[in-house]
């Protein structure tokens, strides 16, 4: 526990606290529930909370005042330009970023020499990057930095062992929790999550995964939609995930071309012949997977006005969009191979795409990126993310219009949504149910959590994964859904309560929380507080923490970080049931768990 908690005994202040509890007790209506019509506009505090909840992962202690002081519109404007935003606390985390071997050990069976080698390589790359004066943002000390030198243009870099790749994966995904929690550029983090799910891929190769997440998604998260679309289309992660690297002209056509083809002078003829033979073996005909999902999920939407014939024409336009190397270790970046391309004009939604090799795919992307159905579909999804599950038509329309006016300038579309008069309408306040990643990160922010790799190692995927969102691991291309009905389940609720109890009592190793800061924040927001009877029964809470030996492996292994709470959980310190002391440690733990587990906190 970072701030030393003074354990006060029953004191006069507590009487005042009692009155506060009487006012905000468990019978108060949900402060974050959609407001009734009696309130026609949000208060200044509510507006700040709304912005923090929608443009970010929820307030930390002190954030509400910071936003009000800056001015709400100024805050929004600042968030739209993340490039100059400094995040000292995040920088500190990323700088000290090392995976202690112990916690890594817990994740996978460990090949220590390989990890040590990876670590040495990481340091040397970092040093070189520093000598070059490379910017720490986007190409920082974590995996992205390593990729810049080693991986950017490699599909599977030579000489990298499987263990190193898993190491990399752990590192990258772990940084996403740090970034979401500590970055001051909160909107950027929201958008990285949003666009990753929109252009979802999974890859067994963590380098691919991390490169896609950082150099494709993050790079264009507030840029032009067309640039983002093109970057995803050309990335090895997408080419492999949706099979386009294997999609070719009919086999006999490719066969004939390869038979009569001579490599250009100066090229390694043996290598080319072998590679072409491999293409022929693996890829001999049309695969429409990418063509379909490109229109259905990335651009037009399933009702965007295309047919099965259009899917096939688009798939033909993308034949030959493949990778340079097909074997492990050969390296593989985007490569257009004309020998594999289906020649001839294509007709997509009535428009002729003249025969033109790699340009055909580019023309299709450009056409789709500017199509009114795309403007509408993408705007609908953004409004669903930022406003309401059932996206209000007037905001969608305004956003779609701006999309078309600006050729898909994402920043402009977002500004239109955030500045729309209905954005701050009381009916949307607290009306979105958080998805699991948001539950976890907003919880960590609310208690101003300080967590390290000992916490991330065993937990970074476990907690939100058990609620149904294993981040960056959605198998199908539609990405994780963004509506309440997808996330409200008996299971996710159950897991949220265990999360609330574990966080508030600091029973997960590597985690420190600020209970006082959290309580102050919760009162400012107007979250419910436990009734005196509940606080008096605090002991049952601590008994419950030890009640299930089977699931408390981390907790009971002597790994607790907070000694006072740990002692209470172990039953070594008796909780005095006769006194109601709201400033006692046990009362604070119960109060924070109570709020984190409340339905109110589950909304944003």
């Amino acid at each position: 526990m970072r701030s030393k908690v003074k354990i006060l005994r029953w004191a006069p202040e507590s009487i005042a606290a009692l009155i506060v509890f009487a006012m905000f007790g468990a019978s108060t209506p949900n402060p974050l529930a959609p407001q009734d019509s009696a309130q026609d506009r949000l208060t200044e505090d509510q507006r700040a909370i709304h912005v923090l909840n929608r443009l970010g992962f929820g307030p930390r202690p002190g954030d509400i005042d910071r936003v009000i002081e800056m001015g709400i519109e100024a805050y929004i404007e600042r968030q739209l330009y993340p490039d100059g935003i400094e995040s000292p606390r995040l920088a500190e985390k990323l700088q000290g970023y090392e995976i202690p071997l112990d916690s890594w050990d817990a994740m996978v069976e460990l090949d220590r020499p390989a990890v040590a080698m990876a670590e040495r390589r990481r340091q040397s790359v970092q040093m070189r990057a520093e000598r070059r004066g490379a910017s720490p943002r986007g190409t920082d000390v974590t995996s992205a930095g390593r990729m810049q030198d080693h991986v950017r243009n490699r599909f599977l870099p030579p000489g990298v062992t499987r263990v190193e790749r898993r190491y990399e994966d752990f590192g990258y995904l772990a940084t996403l929790f740090w970034r979401a929690t500590y970055s001051e550029a909160q909107l950027e983090e929201i958008l990285v999550d949003f666009w990753f799910n929109h252009f979802n891929i999974t890859s067994g190769d963590p380098y691919i995964h991390a490169d896609y997440g950082e150099n494709v998604i993050r790079r264009h998260a507030l840029g032009r939609f067309e640039d983002l679309l093109v970057a995803t289309a050309r990335h090895p992660g997408m080419l492999v995930y949706l099979d386009n690297w294997l999609s070719t002209a009919p086999q006999e056509v490719v066969e004939a071309r390869i038979a009569s083809w001579e490599p250009p002078d100066g090229e390694n003829k043996v290598l080319w012949r072998r590679r072409n033979a491999e293409y022929l073996e693996r890829a001999a005909g049309l695969n429409e997977n990418y063509g379909r999902e490109l229109m259905e999920l990335h651009t037009l939407g399933v009702d965007g006005g295309y047919t099965q014939a259009d899917v096939q024409e688009v798939a033909k336009a993308f034949t030959g969009w493949t990778l340079t190397g097909l074997r492990e270790g050969e390296g593989g970046s985007f490569h257009f191979n004309p020998l594999l391309h289906a020649e001839g004009d294509k007709i997509v939604m009535g428009e002729v795409i003249p025969s033109g090799g790699v340009d055909e795919g580019m023309r299709v992307l450009r056409m789709l990126a500017r199509h009114p159905s795309t403007a509408h579909f993408v705007s609908t999804k953004l409004v669903r993310r930022f406003v309401a599950d059932d996206p209000p038509a007037d905001i969608v329309e305004a956003a779609a219009e701006r999309f078309l006016e600006t050729d898909g300038d994402i920043r402009e579309v977002l500004r239109t949504i955030f500045l729309h008069p209905a954005f701050f309408s009381p009916e949307y306040y607290g009306a979105k149910v958080k998805k699991p990643f948001e539950v976890v990160v907003s919880g960590l922010r609310a208690v101003d959590a300080d967590f390290d790799t000992a916490f991330l190692g065993p937990n970074f995927q476990r907690i939100s994964g058990q609620m149904g969102e294993l981040i960056r691991r959605h198998e199908t291309p539609d990405g994780y859904p963004d509506v309440a009905s997808a996330w409200v389940s008996t299971n996710s609720l159950f897991k949220r309560l265990t999360f609330a109890m574990d966080i508030a009592s600091e029973t997960l190793p590597g985690l420190e929380v600020d209970l006082d800061g959290a309580r102050e924040l919760f009162r400012r927001v107007g979250f419910p507080s436990p009734t005196p009877a509940m606080v008096r029964d605090a002991r049952t809470f601590f008994e419950a923490m030890t009640g299930d030996g089977a699931d408390s492996e981390g907790m009971m292994g002597g790994m607790m970080t907070s000694e006072p709470t740990a002692a209470m959980v172990r039953g070594e310190v008796q909780v005095d049931r006769s006194a109601i002391d709201y400033e006692s440690l046990e009362a604070k733990v119960v109060e924070v768990a109570f709020v984190l587990g409340s339905p109110d906190f589950g909304n944003r």
Binding site: N30, P250, N289, Q308, D478, L493
Partner: protein
């Protein structure tokens, strides 16, 4: 998003939340003696569009081999690994061998060329349509299994009546009737202990989806805490595939389901997912991506069958997938999104040992849009036949909006 549970914010569910659900609780909590054995319908969803033509191979079709030069499964043969002959025309993929004994015993029925009348080739639309049992109707927000429960309520219903084994509730179980999603069950004792702390919070919640779900959870928690899933030992030597990343998920889910059924908690409707069927590339013939998935699928279902033993007399397992795949293999030794597909039905009450199909043929002119196995059996009629034969609901018609159940088209899938 249209969800009846949300629509009925202040209506039916509120009523259910206030009066009916506590009714369940007391009944469930107070009944110490074993409950009446109830029938259970288990639905297994193969997400991604499984290649039914390689699950149950029409080896009697010459065209099948023309269309699939590298991924076809060889016709039954004594000399080498090949399809397992079922009836002289259809064969079972050898990776499904663990289910062959059930077929021989007459407890596995296979329905071929079944599917949706809707033309969509989108996974997500097709899954929604299959789970709502309302192809083409996007405004139908609830699932067919929930509709069954809602329209056919009975006094012995417990909070475990409708259960999905997974982290989130699938569309098939969304709707006004209570339904549980059960993922990893560790931690139940902890939450049970702190129940009084949290329950009051959810009692005053005005969002019906959240308050309804929380009631369902708090109702179930006592019994789950009793179950002690870690200590569960499958019966009759049944061996579920061991947890190993994604490969163990289905096995664990079915194992947990077996435990719930055997504990007599009143599971009537269960839903389990198994993904990994979207084989656009390198799907393989006898070995490869598809056979690996099929093996996990078959081993798990066979283990579940063994584990339940005699209890399978009360249980029917129905498998489904949103669509089949193209008759011809594509350029990547895989198959693209198709149309009709194969469904399995197994259980003690099943009239199995046969492949039920109005076989449309695989000649080019017999294919749907010259590319897929054509649909001759509407999947809803299979759902209806199984519902009627196994659970005998009072109001079957209400389960299928805008669809008339075709009793004459029933295939005789169930005994009695």
């Amino acid at each position: 998003m249209i969800n009846r549970r949300i629509f009925m914010k202040d209506g039916a569910l509120a009523v259910m939340g206030m009066s009916m659900v506590p009714g369940f609780v007391y009944r469930t909590a107070l009944t110490a003696q074993p409950r009446l054995r109830k029938k259970t319908l288990v639905t297994v969803f193969q997400r991604g569009g499984v290649d039914g033509l390689n699950m149950v191979i029409p080896f009697g079709e010459k065209h099948y081999y023309d269309y699939r030069p590298t991924i076809a499964v060889p016709a039954p043969s004594k000399e080498r690994r090949a399809a397992i002959d079922l009836d002289g025309f259809f064969g079972l993929h050898p990776a499904l061998q663990p289910l062959h004994a059930l077929y021989d015993r007459g407890e596995l029925a296979i329905i071929h060329a079944a599917g949706s009348p809707h033309e969509t080739r989108s996974h997500f639309d097709a899954q929604d349509y299959m789970e709502s049992a309302a192809p083409g109707a996007k405004n139908v927000g609830d699932g067919w299994l929930n509709r069954y429960m809602h329209e056919n309520q009975h006094p012995e219903a417990t909070s475990f009546r409708g259960v999905a084994l997974g982290e989130v509730l699938p569309k098939a179980l969304e709707g006004p009737a209570p339904a549980l999603a059960l993922g990893d069950l560790t931690g139940t004792k902890k939450v049970q202990g702190a129940r009084s702390l949290f329950e009051s919070l959810y009692d005053r919640e005005t969002n019906a989806l959240i308050s309804g779900t929380s009631k369902e959870m708090f109702n179930a928690i006592d019994q789950l805490a009793e179950l002690n899933p870690e200590a569960y030992e499958p019966a009759n030597g049944a061996q579920y595939p061991t947890p190993n990343g994604q490969n163990g998920v289905f096995g664990q889910a079915m194992k947990q389901l077996a435990q719930l059924i055997k504990a007599d908690l009143g599971v009537e409707i269960a839903f389990v997912d198994i993904g990994g069927w979207d084989t656009h590339s390198n799907q393989g013939s006898l070995e490869g991506r598809l056979p690996q998935r099929l093996q996990i699928f078959a081993n798990t279902l066979a283990a579940f069958y063994t584990d339940l033993g005699d209890r399978m007399g009360d249980v029917a397992v129905l498998t489904m997938s949103e669509f089949g795949r193209t008759a011809r293999e594509n350029g990547s030794a895989g198959t693209d999104h198709g149309k009709a597909n194969v469904m399995f039905l197994m259980g003690g009450g099943v009239k199995g040992g046969a492949v039920y199909a109005d076989w449309p043929g695989l000649a080019p002119e017999q294919l749907n849009e010259d590319r897929d196995l054509a649909m001759t059996t509407d999947f809803r009629n299979v759902f209806a036949e199984v519902l009627l034969g196994h659970l005998d609901p009072e109001k079957p018609d209400a389960v299928f909006p805008d669809f008339e159940i075709d009793n004459a088209g029933f295939k005789g899938l169930m005994r009695g």
